[in-house]
């Protein structure tokens, strides 16, 4: 789940469990009552503050599914729109429908996420 | 009897200032066998304790032993000015001619009438 290369194993296990639970809870409550996104936002906000306090870096997948501005879950089609654009070089734009904030991901050919690099997983 | 002339003269007085005298119902208990004390001895014990704790000037107030019942219960009367001193002296008293003893204060009141019965120690006798 999280990047665990440098820490000495899963030091703060509860924190991970908590983040995991909160993420799922956010999804669940958005499904249950789409009419009030506030609860989902609050869970994501708590999740982010737990991660901050324990200095845990979330996996890019999770990080990218959260709107930075309003802590909303970015579910494509429901709460966010993702379009592919080209200006100079191509990139995809994910824009959150709640607060209108935008995330841009350029299509770098040989761009490798830090997580995908082997170096990330060898204990330094 | 006079008093027929002025019809119903209604009069009401409330005295909030502390009553002139204060009354204490206490008993002197000895460790082990109860030594019989008469009221003279009791008065002597009280005065001795007062002088020991508060000195001659402190003990100058008159403490009256109104009654000493058979069961060892004594009624004391003291001017309200030195009521707290008497209670203090009673509690600090520990030994009388070699025998450890203690004053147990059951009831305290500013009117003698209310000492005549104590609803706290009323144990209900079974129906005869």
């Amino acid at each position: 789940m999280g990047k665990s290369a440098k820490q000495k194993g899963l030091g703060n296990k509860e924190a991970y469990q908590r983040i995991n639970y909160l993420y799922q809870a956010a999804h669940l409550c958005l499904q249950q009552s789409p009419s009030n996104p506030e609860m989902c936002r609050f869970y994501i906000n708590t999740m982010r503050s737990v991660a901050e306090k324990h200095v845990i870096r979330m996996h890019p997948e999770i990080k990218r599914s959260i709107c930075k501005k309003c802590c909303m879950l970015l579910l494509p089609g429901i709460t966010s729109i993702s379009r592919n654009k080209k200006k100079g070089e191509r990139y995809t734009v994910v824009s959150c429908l709640e607060c209108g904030s935008v995330k841009r991901f350029p299509w770098g050919k040989n761009y490798q996420l830090w997580v995908e690099k082997p170096a990330a997983w060898q204990p330094s | 009897m006079t008093g027929d002339s002025e019809k119903h003269s209604y009069l009401r007085q409330v005295d909030k200032s502390p009553a002139p005298y204060f009354y204490i119902k206490t008993s002197l208990e000895y460790e082990g066998r109860g030594l019989e004390t008469d009221s003279l001895q009791l008065k002597h014990v009280i005065m001795q304790s007062m002088t020991e704790v508060f000195g001659q000037v402190g003990a100058s107030d008159t403490v009256d032993v109104l009654k000493l019942s058979a069961s060892g219960e004594a009624l004391l009367r003291v001017p309200s000015r030195s009521f707290v001193k008497l209670w203090g002296a009673l509690t600090l008293f520990g030994k009388y001619n070699g025998l450890p003893c203690v004053f147990r204060v059951q009831q305290v009141s500013s009117s003698l009438m209310s000492l005549s019965c104590n609803s706290r120690t009323w144990d209900i006798p079974a129906m005869s």
Binding site: N12, E14, A15, Q17, R18, N20, Y21, L22, Q24, A25, L28, C29, Q31, Q32, S33, P34, S35, N36, E38, M39, R41, F42, Y43, N45, T46, M47, R48, S49, V50, E52, K53, H54, K68, K69, C70, C71, I78, S95, L97, C99, G100, S101, V102 | -
Partner: protein, 232 residues
Amino acid sequence: MADDKSCTEETLYSGLSPSIVSHGSKLGLQARSMRQTDVVKSYLKRHLPANRLMANEDNISRRQVHLSRTVKKKKFDLTSQKKKKLTNRERKGMKVFKIPKENQSYSQQLPLHQAWKQYMEEVIPSSSVSSPGAVQAACQKVVKAELQGGMLTVQRSKCPSYVGVCGIVMQETRHTFTFITSSDKVKCVPKENSIFALELHGHIFTIHGSHFKVKAGERSSKKFKSKPTTDL
């Protein structure tokens, strides 16, 4: 903007062979269509301009086209994107985290509570709570664990009308717990001067609110000093 009427489950998967459809639930073919329109409707309700939303009109598909007025295309202005963070003042303005009091339902929160139970099972396995020593360790874990979604009751409180409030914790802020009680009422109980009880694996953990006044997020990393008196 609204496409044709919702496609029901039969029409969508009619092409598949009956055997697949029969045990569809195992393969995860839920009847998504119901929730689909629900989401769309709630989204439209929040975003359509007021004049479009007639009073309690549920059929939002009616669309008016104003030939005379050209619809201004919303231009992405780059400047607004520069500001990444929402300041607290804005957050309060946009009521980002304010849970509305009305039309909440307890049944909606039940699955959340089930998920919470599984989470707690993970954190404090019921087997580990047998010996008293382990219970002590469990207490430490409860302090650091997440309470949102859990079932709490107010055991004691300085203001007696809070006593007996029991429900699923919807939101935990620095000073309050927001419950939704089984009678679909949202109750916001201050942590100060009240003691909460959490029932877990047959043990009741009492939480003293006045020692717990920490934001939900920060509670897991904060070291708790023992307070001299537990008096309210």
